[in-house]
C-alpha cells in the first residue's frame, strides 16, 4: 500500500465550530475504520456519489511502483456537505485531489475521508465525524 506524503493541508478551522451539532450517527465508524492509521493520498477522481447516508469519492491512486489502485473514501452526507458550502459538481471525474483520512480495518482500499484538498487550493472538511452536541 503506497502512501504518499503531499503538501501540507490547511486546517479549515471555521468548519470545526460550524459543526458543533449532532448529525446522523449512521453507525459507529470506529467499527469500520482505524483511528490509529491516518492516510493521505493524492489521485484522480473517477467517481463521486453524493448520496445518503454517506457520499463516496473514488480515486485512482498511483503507488511508488507506478501501479494504479482505485481507492474509495467515505465522506459526509449530502446535506452535511451542502451546509459546508460543498456543491455536487466540485468533485468531477478527472480532478486531481488530495484526501486525508483514516484506513478501513478490513484491508481494502477504503478510507474515511476527513479533509479534501481541492484543485483550486481550497480545503473542505469532509469528515463525517462532526461533533455531537
Amino acid at each position: 500500500m503506497g502512501i504518499r506524503s503531499q503538501v501540507a493541508i490547511l486546517i479549515a478551522s471555521a468548519s470545526l465550530f460550524l459543526a458543533a451539532l449532532p448529525v446522523l450517527a449512521h453507525h459507529s465508524f470506529a467499527a469500520e475504520y482505524d483511528g490509529t492509521k491516518p492516510i493521505k493520498v493524492t489521485g484522480t477522481v473517477t467517481k463521486f456519489d453524493m448520496t445518503n447516508p454517506h457520499s463516496w469519492v473514488y480515486l485512482d491512486v498511483k503507488d511508488a511502483d507506478g501501479k494504479v489502485a482505485n481507492w474509495g473514501f467515505e465522506t459526509a452526507s449530502p446535506n452535511a456537505l451542502f451546509r459546508r458550502g460543498f456543491k455536487k459538481d466540485f468533485l468531477k471525474p478527472g480532478n486531481m485531489v488530495t484526501i486525508e483520512g483514516f484506513l478501513a480495518k478490513d484491508g481494502s482500499h477504503t478510507g474515511n475521508a476527513q479533509k479534501l484538498l481541492m484543485p483550486d487550493g481550497n480545503t473542505i472538511v469532509l469528515g463525517t465525524e462532526v461533533n455531537p452536541g
Binding site: I11, L16, F17, A20, L21, P22, V23, L24, A25, H26, H27, S28, F29, A30, A31, E32, Y33, G35, T36, P38, D49, T51, N52, P53, H54, S55, W56, E74, S77, P78, N79, F82, R83, F102, A104, K105, D106, S108, T110, N112, Q114, E129, V130, N131, P132, G133
Partner: protein, 277 residues
C-alpha cells in the same frame, strides 16, 4: 499526531458548554447548556390560537453525544466528544441483571446496530437530532431530518392494538404549559444508542416538552420497560431553536448504504468498557 490534536481540540470546544451542571425546570438533567429553573418556571410562552404554548419551529437538541451512549462516556475516535454526565438522570440505567450480557454482546457486534441498517431510530433516540414541529389542535407533527422519519402526535384517540412500530404510536395532551406524550406500540428492534442500550416491545415512553425561554425547550423522557428494567429511568436534554434561515434538508439512508459490506460479523466498536465512565 494531527488526528489526536484534532480530536482533543474538538473535545475542548465541546467541553465549554458542558462545564456547567444543568437543571431543567422541575428536575435535574445532566447535559447541555444551563437552564435557570426560576426563569423557566416564570416563562410565559407565546400561545397558539387554541391557547397552548407554540412549540413550532426547528429544534436542535443538545444531547451530549447520546447517539453513541446515553450514559457518561469518554471521547473517542469516530465517536466525537464524550459526555461527562450522559443524558440519563443518575448516570446509569436500571437494567435487570441478565441484560448486562446482552449489552456486552451488542457492543461486540456493531454490525447489528439497526441505525447502521438505516432503520428508524425510534423514541427517544430520534430526538437526539434536529427536527421540525408543526402544530395543530388535534395533531402535532414532528418531522426529523434523519431517515426522513416523522411521527404524528395525536391529541385524541388511543393507542392501536396489535401494532408495533419503530417509532411507536404517540398520543399527547397538555398539562399546563407542558406537552405530555405517551409513546407505546414500540417494537423491540430500535435502540437507545450505539452502546448496546436496548429495550423490549414493552417499552413505554412518556415525554414532556416545555418551553423555558424563547429559544429553548426542555425535553424529558421517562422510560418504562418491565421486561428489561427494574424501575423506570429518566433522561433529558435541552433543545435549542435553530437559526432563522435553517432548513431541514432531505436525508435518506437506504439508497446508498455501503458500509455494511465493510463490517464483518462480530465487530466491536472499542475496547470493552469504553462506554463506561
Amino acid at each position: 499526531m494531527r488526528p489526536l490534536i484534532l480530536s482533543v481540540a474538538m473535545t475542548a470546544v465541546l467541553a465549554l458548554p458542558l462545564a456547567a451542571q444543568v437543571r431543567p425546570p422541575d428536575a435535574g438533567f445532566p447535559s447541555g447548556p444551563k437552564i435557570d429553573p426560576a426563569k423557566a418556571r416564570a416563562y410565559n410562552p407565546p400561545k397558539t390560537a387554541d391557547g397552548h404554548p407554540d412549540l413550532e419551529g426547528i429544534w436542535q437538541p443538545r444531547s451530549g453525544g447520546a447517539a453513541y451512549s446515553i450514559l457518561p462516556h469518554p471521547a473517542g475516535f469516530f465517536l466525537g466528544a464524550g459526555s461527562e454526565s450522559g443524558i440519563v438522570e443518575g448516570g446509569e440505567l436500571p437494567y435487570q441483571p441478565w441484560a448486562a450480557e446482552r449489552i456486552k454482546y451488542l457492543t461486540q457486534h456493531m454490525e447489528l446496530d439497526p441505525t447502521g441498517h438505516c432503520h428508524y431510530e425510534g423514541i427517544p433516540h430520534a430526538m437526539y437530532f434536529a427536527f421540525q414541529i408543526f402544530q395543530t389542535p388535534k395533531q402535532i407533527a414532528v418531522l426529523h431530518e434523519n431517515m426522513h422519519a416523522y411521527r404524528i402526535i395525536y391529541m385524541d384517540g388511543t393507542h392501536p392494538k396489535d401494532y408495533l412500530a419503530w417509532m411507536g404510536d404517540s398520543r399527547g395532551h397538555w398539562e399546563g404549559n407542558t406537552l405530555v406524550v405517551d409513546v407505546a406500540n414500540n417494537n423491540d428492534k430500535s435502540v437507545f444508542d450505539m452502546a448496546g442500550h436496548f429495550h423490549s416491545d414493552a417499552l413505554h415512553v412518556v415525554e414532556r416538552f416545555t418551553l423555558v425561554d424563547a429559544d429553548t425547550m426542555s425535553y424529558e423522557a421517562t422510560l418504562e420497560d418491565p421486561k428489561v428494567f427494574t424501575k423506570p429511568a429518566k433522561l433529558g436534554f435541552p433543545l435549542k431553536r435553530a437559526p432563522k434561515d435553517y432548513e431541514l434538508i432531505e436525508s435518506g439512508c437506504f439508497e446508498g448504504e455501503r458500509d455494511q459490506a465493510h463490517l464483518p460479523e462480530g465487530v466491536a466498536t472499542l475496547p470493552e468498557g469504553h462506554y463506561k465512565k
